[in-house]
């Protein structure tokens, strides 16, 4: 999992609003930096990194909510949450499949077929979750989200 990037110029004596601008700008950039390859189901770490980056952005938006105009903030947070949920649906299946695949090898013979069938069901859910995620990480959608977050940062209360 990628570490959170340091926020340049972060200063505890600076105003809450100015900190909000700095932190949200960096956390938003991290989300977009991790958007490559998230739909690749053979490399589940790419999705995990974007999910964690999205979680960090969501946390920053929640912590600094009072620094932003309410309506603009609400809309941005709603879209970030929707992205996080779509990433989470895929991630849950990735993790469950990995766990079961590890267990299947050592399982008792009597249970092995049932485990394989469960893995197959989860793979189907994983494919579906990936299809549902695709529009959220499409270039145009991410570009809009980036623009929305840029505007939000610029609109921080002074």
């Amino acid at each position: 999992m990628a570490r959170a990037r340091e926020v340049p110029g972060f200063d505890c004596e600076e105003s809450f609003s100015a900190s909000a601008e700095r932190v949200v700008a960096v956390r938003a950039a991290e989300v977009f930096e991790h958007s490559d390859g998230v739909l690749d189901m053979d490399d589940i770490e790419a999705l995990h990194d974007m999910r964690v980056a999205t979680r960090r952005l969501r946390a920053a938006l929640e912590v600094f909510a009072p620094a932003f105009p309410a309506k603009r903030h609400r809309k941005a947070l709603k879209r970030v949450k929707a992205l996080a949920d779509a990433l989470g649906e895929r991630r849950d299946r990735d993790v469950a499949i990995e766990f079961l695949a590890g267990f299947a090898d050592e399982a008792q013979q009597a249970d092995r077929a049932a485990i394989e069938a469960l893995i197959e069901r989860l793979r189907e859910e994983q494919r579906r979750a990936n299809e549902e995620l695709a529009p959220y990480v499409a270039a145009e959608r991410l570009k809009k989200l980036r623009r929305r977050l840029c505007k939000l940062v610029k609109a921080a209360k002074r």
Partner: protein, 147 residues
């Protein structure tokens, strides 16, 4: 679980006093949830506590530098709590799906018991640190409560 509202935040004021209010609220939220979550069967309470630990962890990832090195200790404690409670939640989510696969059900039940013991031990170890809120100090070294 909805986060508790933090009262009295002032966007024009420096980050530090605002951050202090938020950290205090999130710490309190976590500590309030612990007694219920320490019942081994209380999966909903454990899930809520995981969310509270996650909020505290990511909050301190942002504002930790305002509180000196003790913030790292609290951050790491929250991260560890979130991790173990997350694994308990994974077992809870998986168990209904593996109905009829006895060896797997047994493994998940045993794993959950082990994880719960880890959670309980970890909580006993870290709660004094969390409880002693005044251990968190601002950059100037003054106690939070004095600022």
């Amino acid at each position: 679980m909805k986060a508790r509202q933090v009262e009295g935040l002032d966007p024009a004021a420096p980050l530090y006093p605002n951050a202090e209010r938020i950290v205090r609220t999130r710490l309190d939220e976590l500590r309030t949830l612990a007694p219920a979550a320490l019942d081994p069967a209380a999966s909903t309470a454990q899930h809520d506590m995981r969310i509270a630990a996650k909020r505290l962890r990511y909050l301190l990832e942002i504002v930790g530098p305002c509180f000196g090195p003790e913030a790292k200790t609290v951050h790491d404690a929250a991260k560890q709590l979130q991790g173990v409670l997350g694994e308990i939640h994974d077992c809870d989510e998986m168990l209904p799906r593996v109905w009829g696969i006895e060896s797997l059900r047994e493994l998940l039940r045993t794993r959950r018991e082990l994880l719960f013991r880890q959670f309980s031990d970890h909580w006993q170890a870290v709660s004094p640190t969390l409880h002693t809120f005044s251990l968190l100090r601002g950059e100037s070294g003054g106690e939070l409560n004095d600022r």
